[in-house]
């Protein structure tokens, strides 16, 4: 798994639960080092071990851990860059959802080695959308639930999200009910970071 993803998991734990928790997980997973480097690549098994350890350390299911990780990626000031890149997806939550179709391609443009999940969003009518997520990392769909929940807050939309489990083909399915597109104020976003800099 790309160092970016491993690094994100590490930063999430460090920023949310403290450096000691991360240390304990790194040791428990027998990493042999203290920090993931964002620009290196690591064996997939290492990521799976870290996730398993982290969930055990925090006494929560891996699914919940991943969902919290997704929320963190969008809402924590330390990783503001990710939220900004996602906001490039569109001017409202619906456009953002459709932009997920292009996320893999956009990410490849920036970092060709980054194994992004293949995301497909369909409009099922009546404000219901269906996201299918195919990833080398099982459970990525749960992280996407967290990401979408936080992005809905960011846009000020009111949504109901539900992970529907796995298809036989290995895809995870998530349904999104957009109850109200403009429920709350949402956070400001400017295309130029210079203008929108002060958060």
């Amino acid at each position: 798994m790309h160092g970016m993803i491993n690094r994100a998991i590490q930063c999430f734990m460090r920023d949310t639960y403290g450096g000691q928790t991360w240390q304990a997980v790194a040791e428990g997973a027998d990493l042999g080092f203290d920090n993931f480097e964002a620009m290196l690549s690591y064996p997939d098994q290492l990521t799976i071990d870290v996730l398993g350890r982290a969930a055990r350390q925090l006494h929560k299911p891996v699914e919940t851990f991943l969902e919290d990780l997704g929320t963190y990626l969008v809402s924590h000031p330390n990783v503001e860059a990710i939220r900004r890149l996602l906001r490039f997806g569109g001017e409202n939550f619906t456009e953002f959802l459709f932009s997920l179709n292009e996320l893999e391609g956009r990410a490849k443009l920036a970092l060709p080695d980054l194994e992004m999940p293949t995301l497909r969003v369909e409009d099922c009518g009546d404000g219901t959308f269906r996201l299918s997520c195919l990833s080398a990392m099982p459970g990525f769909g749960y992280a996407m639930v967290g990401v979408m929940r936080a992005m809905a807050d960011d846009y000020g939309a009111l949504v109901f999200l539900e992970h529907q489990g796995w298809m036989d083909s290995g895809e995870e399915i998530i349904t999104i009910n957009l109850l109200e597109a403009a429920y709350a104020e949402g956070r400001a976003f400017e295309l130029s970071e210079r203008i929108g800099g002060e958060v």
């Binding site: 620009m39 290196l40 391609g105 956009r106 409009d123």
Partner: protein
């Protein structure tokens, strides 16, 4: 009056025009490089493209107008396109303007496009420039990372290795032991102190001594398993960490086997070097909350019994015998000198 699309199409080299029935009438020059215009003109637009919108398009026409469209060709090379359609009032024609979006990098290669294929107002060339520049920088960064990572691994390896014997050093031993204690893995430590090594050094010289130490290292590695650790922690002192090896008799046998092998004469030039070793052993099971200092201390006490009993033997730490007994009359730090 017939509508002349030429000036409009010059601005939009990726556009086409279709009539209200959906039949393609005009194809702009860059789009003509993607698919043969002969086959496009006269075809129905939905026979050429798959078209998807975000569900907000309007109009009665064959494709939604006034909204963002996602298109791809139904046959041939896949090239995802972004587009937008608009009706031209009064003449029954519609304009569909297309752009590559993120497929631009593949498209310029697939269709051998040049800068002349893009409108002067299009940011495509800047985009391609940015992608190339970014890729070059990223590649440099990747190589730098690989070099730094290699250097880091080598430096760490060096920092944890005893250069003479290739065994781990004291720092590595401390590190591994701390880690094992934290993770709660049971293990034994075996403290080995060479006997008569000093006399080899004194009579045959340091080079002979080095030969002996290298031979000892080889024996210790042969007598331990892959997940054990052998460290040289002093001039002629070694600590072995034996992973999940708790059985006393087995540990004693291992210690005795090591001593027996150490006693095999080691050839150096025309001479034979004769050494032996004393061993003290303890395991994590002796402690409610094992810690490194206590374990090393107790292995030392057991080692001291071996020396005291006449060397060349192994002793298992025994809380009843060693606590407050041997430790009282043999100061721990005096051991190195007196034992050698």
């Amino acid at each position: 009056m017939r509508f002349d699309p030429t000036p409009l199409i010059a601005f939009m080299p990726m556009s086409l025009m279709y009539d209200d029935a959906g039949t393609i009438r005009y194809v702009a020059p860059t789009l003509a490089k993607l698919r043969d215009p002969e086959t496009l003109i006269g075809a129905h637009i939905s026979d050429v493209f798959s078209v998807r919108d975000n569900g907000r398009g309007n109009g009665e026409g064959p494709i939604p107008v006034g909204t963002k469209l996602y298109l791809n060709f139904l046959s041939g090379i896949s090239t995802p396109l972004k587009g937008m359609a608009a009706a031209i009032p009064g003449i029954g024609l519609n304009l569909l303007n297309l752009s590559f979006g993120i497929s631009i990098v593949d498209a310029v290669a697939d269709y051998r496009l040049t800068s002349g294929d893009f409108a002067h107002t299009d940011l495509a060339i800047e985009m391609l420039y940015l992608v190339e520049a970014k890729s070059a920088v990223l590649e440099e960064t990747k190589q730098l990372n690989a070099r730094l990572q290699g250097a880091k691994v080598a430096a760490e390896e060096q920092a944890y290795t005893d250069t003479l014997t290739g065994l781990r050093n004291r720092r590595a031993m401390d590190h591994v032991m701390e880690r094992m204690l934290r993770s709660g893995v049971p293990f034994a430590i075996m403290h080995l102190d060479l006997d008569y090594f000093k006399s080899v050094n004194d009579t045959l010289g340091h080079v002979a001594g080095d030969t002996v130490l290298q031979r000892v290292a080889k024996i210790l590695l042969e007598e331990t398993r892959g997940d054990d650790m052998v460290a040289r922690v002093g001039g002629d002192e070694f600590i072995l960490i034996l992973n999940k090896f708790m059985e006393h008799e087995g540990l004693m046998r291992t210690g005795e086997r090591i001593i027996a092998r150490l006693q095999e004469p080691i050839p150096y030039q025309d001479e034979l070097c004769r050494i032996s070793g004393s061993v003290g052993i303890t395991t994590t099971e002796f402690y409610d909350a094992p810690n490194a200092d206590a374990m090393i201390h107790d292995a030392d006490l057991a080692l001291y019994s071996s020396k005291y009993e006449g060397r060349a033997q192994a002793t298992m730490f025994d809380p009843k015998v060693h606590q407050g007994c041997v430790s009282d009359h043999v100061p721990q730090h005096a051991r190195g000198e007196s034992a050698a």
